[in-house]
Amino acid sequence: MNTNHKNGKVRIGFYVCHCGHNIAGMVDCPAVAQYIAKLPGVVVSRDYKYMCSDPGQELIQQDIREHQLNRVVVASCSPLLHEHTFRNAVTAGGLNPFYFQMVNIREHDSWVHTDREEATAKAKSLAHAAICRVRFHRALETTRVPIHPDVLVVGGGITGIHAALTLGNAGKKVFLVERDPSIGGHMAQFDKTFPTLDCAACILTPKMSAVRSHENITLWSYSEVVKVSGYVGNYTVTVKRKPRYVNEDLCVGCLECIQACIFKEGKFPDEFNVGLSKRKPIYIPFPQAVPPVVVIDPDRCLQVRTGKCKKTCLEACADRKAIDFTQKEELVEIKVGNIIVATGFKLFDAKRIPQYGYGLYPNVVTAIELERLVNSSGPTAGEIVLRDGRPPKSVGMILCVGSRDMKTNRWCSRTCCMHSMKLAQLVREHTEADVTVFYMDIRAPGKGCEEFYDKSLKEGIQFVRGRVAEVTDWALAPEEEGKLVIRVEDTLAGFVRRIPVDMIVLATGMEPQADAQDVRRLFNMSCGTEGWFLEKHPKLAPVSTFTDGVFIAGCCQGPKDIPDSIAQAGAAAAEAMALIDKGHIEQEPNTAYIVEADCSGCKSCIPLCPYTAIAFDEAKQKAQINEALCKGCGTCVASCPSGSIRQNLFEDEEIFSEIEGVLAYV
């Protein structure tokens, strides 16, 4: 079979990929192949249209067999994309996959340079470097890391719920951690969902109940993840369980304690009703909350804050004794193999666009506020009314508030066109008011959505194409008195219009959660430039992250609607299940190792390892590396004064030879 370079000669196969026009359009691939062909050790040097395709891969395999190749170098796209593909191809050809080296002449060359000569020269020198390097490659075996079968799902919105149920149904043990006192997320606040006009609560609450009663799901609501350590398959997570001051197992959800509270009426803004109504310090987030347990707000409850209260709530719960003011915050540690982060989004603060008058004019509301008004268990029992209680005769809906905007957020929030049309239809249904939607573009891409747009038009909802300049209360004509006037350029009609309405609804966009940066650091993830959690690849790996074993799903990855969130939840669950069912993961064998003979026992490496993989053997007076713990960063390798620590796949001579190769071609 194939030998290493010590006993036999190195026989290198080199392939340059055209990638259609992507590389060949800027790099002279045949010239690169010809240049490399002349280098010592290169037995085969070819250029081909699509190396990653089946015939391309077969070419490599054939050459390995026919030419007894013991090294393979492919110059094509980024190794982050296809290193895996080619390593598999090499293995299929009968050669150890780590005799393979990849050269990036697409993302780093053909796609970013404009001079053909320069791009080709760069390709030649990068390929030359790889040829030099690959000589020193050795056969390596991947290591296996076992995968703990339990999974942590962070976030109890529809996405987290669906992921937890999918995994739970597959027999995996799931911890579902949710920061708010109830699961359900934003979807619980919706009245109906587009395009089917299904009642949101009707389709969500069965899933919420299923979570509660599932034997495989441990639901920890009113809890937060505070620490994560470990690596794929072996995470240790610390969860902070915040005190409700109510015993979850004893509370039956009768709500008598809320009735009995010394606060006769609600006094504090109700979060679920987005501040449109008030609640008491002791409350349940909404009637269908899961868990159906009361919670006491520590910042507002007199007893918790001052210790001086009649505690009428305790009296009301005398027989069940579910209220417990001695509860304390608890830190619990769990071990899981995979983590799915589904922490959702927050809404744009409409006050940031003062021209729309939110906060200034009482009858300017946001879409979520209207959603609560429309909902029959909302603050107005489903009546759509203005602040003074009258039903509106005319409503204007302004789209893209805080989306597609150079001054605030540049992205499209994807759901606002659809939910605005939904609300428009509901307003027509409930009030017969005239509804006008002010849009820049109408985006209705999902199944049934374009038809929903048609239905909106047929129902007499007016659409004006123009970006609203301002909402004002100064009247120019008698019919504008007492109304809010929308000033907009109607771009299809070609002039500026003043449209008086009673009520204005702002379709505020989605934004990453306020603490997205803190959360992503907790899970060792990155955020994209816009603040959403970064996926491994926007097309091919939308739910994976660069950290193995940590997955993202739902709106925390980017704005999307409910069907797409559920799809991603299922995808993330499947990715986790793939790891769990296999039972182990193959780790890149880029671990560090110590050549004992050379180690002087100076101990400068010991404190460097973030995974505490390096220990000191007192008996031998030598440092030792635990391969299972080593993640292959190479920091200790660079620090060793005697050079006794080496790194597989990133040996000193491999890198030195790359440096030599990269500078060889002038």
């Binding site: 003062p354 021209q355 004002t472 209360d473 100064w474 009247a475 120019l476």
Partner: protein, 290 residues
């Protein structure tokens, strides 16, 4: 506190009530104003729309004189002068050709320009440098019962919203509230008054003026407070014509400095209030508070 002072042509001409009220108010607050020696017209918006380079040279002469006068900020009360001088500073900094022309021309007059004198509006200086607390102490006759519509005009906040918000500025609102007045909610506070169009294309310009007057009346204001001589003139001088053409719109328009002067206990005559076409209703007779 000491500032260089650029009155501009208006404050010595049609807008002299602005200067007549500004100077005693500043003096009352202990702010020393040193008028620039041999200043010239800033060119206003007219010259800039004809020849940007020459307009910059004209305006820059004032900035050079200000630099020579000393390391002090320059106060330009007329909003147009304020804007033109600031715009000139930007143009010189951003466009090398303009900078070269300015340096050459100034050189001929043995002047230099290095761009280190900030040009500021009295609203900015009063609120941010003097401070509302200090001003409140000087108020001996709060403008109780006087409903004021604060009107900033467009040039104090557009395109440079340096000391206040471009959409909803509040410096004048706060000043007037400190003086004890009841500040009326006036969403048109930065809407154009018509500017020079009132003279050249009156059907367009005066209509804009009408909208402002009508809305101020509708909101129950007793008087409109302005910070620009052209705004004051447009709002004050054409009310007969406007009423004939579009509808009744009768309300006094004064400079915010005149109102502040009244709050400080100065007399209407001292503050140039007799210069208004439409007289302001006299303030409620209140005993002067110590």
């Amino acid at each position: 506190m000491k500032y260089s002072y650029f009155p501009g042509c208006s404050l010595k001409g049609l807008g002299r009530a602005y200067e007549e009220s500004l100077l005693p108010v500043m003096k009352h607050l202990g702010v020393e104003l040193v008028e620039l020696d041999d200043w010239n017209c800033c060119g206003a918006t007219a010259y800039m729309s004809v020849d940007e380079t020459k307009a910059a040279v004209l305006a820059a002469r004032n900035l050079a004189i200000a630099e020579k006068a000393g390391p002090r900020d320059l106060m330009a009360p007329c909003s147009a002068c304020y804007l033109v001088l600031n715009k000139t500073k930007h143009n010189i900094a951003d466009f090398p050709e303009i900078n070269a022309a300015v340096q050459r021309a100034l050189g001929n007059a043995k002047l230099t320009y290095s761009g280190n004198v900030p040009v500021r509006h009295p609203l900015d200086i009063l609120v941010n440098d003097v401070g509302l607390d200090v001003i409140k102490e000087k108020v001996v006759r709060p403008l109780k019962g006087l409903k004021v519509a604060p009107y900033y005009g467009c040039q104090t906040v557009r395109p440079y919203a340096t000391f206040d918000d471009a959409w909803n500025p509040t410096t004048m609102d706060r000043l007037l509230a400190t003086a004890g007045a009841e500040v009326v909610h006036f969403p048109l506070k930065t809407k154009c008054c018509g500017g020079s169009l009132t003279g050249t294309v009156p059907e367009a310009g005066l209509r804009l003026t009408y909208i402002l007057l009508k809305e101020a009346v509708r909101r129950g204001a007793d008087v409109i407070a302005t910070a620009c001589p052209l705004c004051q003139f447009n709002l004050d001088a054409y009310q007969d014509q406007i009423s004939r053409r579009w509808g009744p719109a009768r309300i006094a328009t004064v400079y915010f400095t005149q109102l502040m002067g009244l709050a400080f206990g100065l007399s209407p005559e001292q503050l140039g209030l007799k210069r208004n076409f439409v007289p302001m209703k006299p303030l409620q007779a209140e005993p002067v508070t110590a």
